[in-house]
């Protein structure tokens, strides 16, 4: 009775295995010894084993390491992490939108003003200023020529030193004290335009 010849079934993975001829050289010296004398893995050098394992993909290695149950657990954990992550992002976005909406609402209700706006004044503020000037006028029935001279000199000095904000309030007072003097009112108009241009939120002036 003759034994049927040994048949080698090549694993498809083996086709992709690249073996450095340096490591496989000793094996080629040994002739094939049939089923009994086949080379055992233990015969392979440790570096060759490492190399052979390294050729597999990381996922395949992970597959090989984990049991089916563990694999499923890991996958469920990944899916749950994704869902929770997305949910958390959506929640944070919603909170940010709500906060922004609240801030806009507060701005609309409170309408805080910039320092320049405060200076330029809304209608109410202007009315208050006019009222204050009227009270001042009542207190000072007539401005003496020397006082007017001082006021004008002070105003010109403020403009000369480019202190437009300070000059504006000063010339507003002058315009109220001397309503017949058109130049004071004109200076107020130009100063307002200049301060408006200096405001960072406004568009650039010509």
């Amino acid at each position: 009775m003759t034994e049927p010849p040994t048949m080698l079934l090549r694993d498809p993975d083996d086709d992709r295995t690249l073996i450095d001829p340096r490591f496989s050289a000793p094996r080629s010296d040994k002739p094939f010894e049939g089923s009994g004398g086949a080379a055992q893995p233990a015969d392979l050098s440790p570096s060759l084993v490492r190399l052979a394992l390294g050729t597999r993909g990381p996922w395949q290695r992970l597959h090989a390491m984990l049991s089916e149950r563990r694999r499923r657990t890991v996958e469920i954990a990944v899916v749950l992490a994704l869902v929770f992550g997305l949910g958390s992002v959506a929640y944070q976005q919603r909170r940010a939108v709500d906060a922004l909406r609240d801030a806009i609402e507060e701005m609309r209700v409170g309408s805080p003003t910039s320092p320049v706006h405060e200076l330029l004044g809304s209608e109410g503020r202007e009315r208050a200023q006019v009222g204050a000037v009227a009270r001042m006028e009542a207190l000072i029935p007539e401005v003496s020529p020397s006082e007017r001279e001082q006021l004008e000199h002070r105003g010109a000095s403020l403009i000369g030193s480019n202190n437009f904000a300070g000059a504006l309030t000063h010339y507003q007072t002058l315009a109220e004290l001397f309503p017949k003097e058109a130049p004071f009112g004109d200076v107020v108009t130009v100063l307002k335009a200049k301060l408006r241009c200096a405001e960072p939120v406004s568009s650039p002036c010509p």
Binding site: E149, A156, V190, R196
Partner: protein, 230 residues
């Protein structure tokens, strides 16, 4: 063995399908054929200076006239992406630019859901005349007449300060003279300053220092000598 290894892949693919479906569901529907668009037109002469009484046209059709706040609110029915031509007429004393503005309608969501979002378009009406305010600071130059292009407009006060203003077309040149004829000992004599009005309201500050020339010393008359010529 193979089936066991394929099982997790199918779970992953299901997850991907579900996530894709969620992503697709979050996308917006295609825009409707026609929708109302709220547009506010603001007409300004300078940044922040509103112009009332300007008329706004959309594709030649009047949209309205600006109120005291320089604003016209309009609602247009159109498609998103549609382009409209915007033009406007300015009130007296203002000049409108010749080129028409093109407006493309865009659908967008406002942060405040209680109000419909409004597009704001700013249009310009340039003033034909600009305001020039002059502030004269003449040190040691009290009570001096100020001439603007040769005509008296003001007089410096006791501390040498004077204010006057004028309106003119942008680019106008003004010659300001501080006349010293009444005080001939002031130096320099009748200094002049040249100013050009820009395309904006402007304040011109004239800083002029004067020196008072000392009076020439009067020498006493020398006594006449009588020289005897022999």
């Amino acid at each position: 063995m193979r089936r066991a290894s394929e099982q997790p892949v199918s779970v992953t693919s299901r997850v991907i399908v579900v996530l894709s479906a969620v992503a697709l569901a979050s996308c917006e529907r295609p825009p409707d054929a026609e929708r109302p668009f709220a547009i506010a037109f603001v007409v300004e002469s300078d940044p922040g200076v509103r112009v009332p009484g300007a008329r706004v046209f959309i594709d030649g059709v009047p949209a309205g006239e600006t109120d005291s706040n320089g604003r016209v609110n309009a609602e247009i029915n159109g498609q998103s992406g549609q382009q409209l031509g915007i033009s406007h007429d300015c009130p007296d004393g203002h000049d409108a630019p010749f080129e028409r503005k093109a407006l493309r309608l865009r659908k967008f969501e406002g942060v405040d859901r209680s109000r419909p979002p409004t597009m704001e378009i700013t249009l310009t009406c340039r003033p034909l005349k600009r305001l020039a305010a002059f502030v004269v600071r003449a040190s040691d130059g009290p009570d001096l007449p100020i001439l603007l292009d040769g005509k008296p407009v003001a007089r410096t006060n006791g501390s040498g300060v004077a204010h006057f203003s004028i309106r003119g077309a942008p680019g106008t040149e003004y010659i300001v003279e501080l006349e010293t004829r009444e005080r001939p000992r002031l130096r320099p004599r009748s200094p002049t300053h040249l100013f050009t009005l820009p395309d904006a309201d402007e304040i011109f500050v004239i800083n002029q220092a004067f020196d008072l020339e000392k009076e020439p010393r009067r020498r006493g008359r020398r006594p006449t000598r009588i020289t005897k010529i022999e």
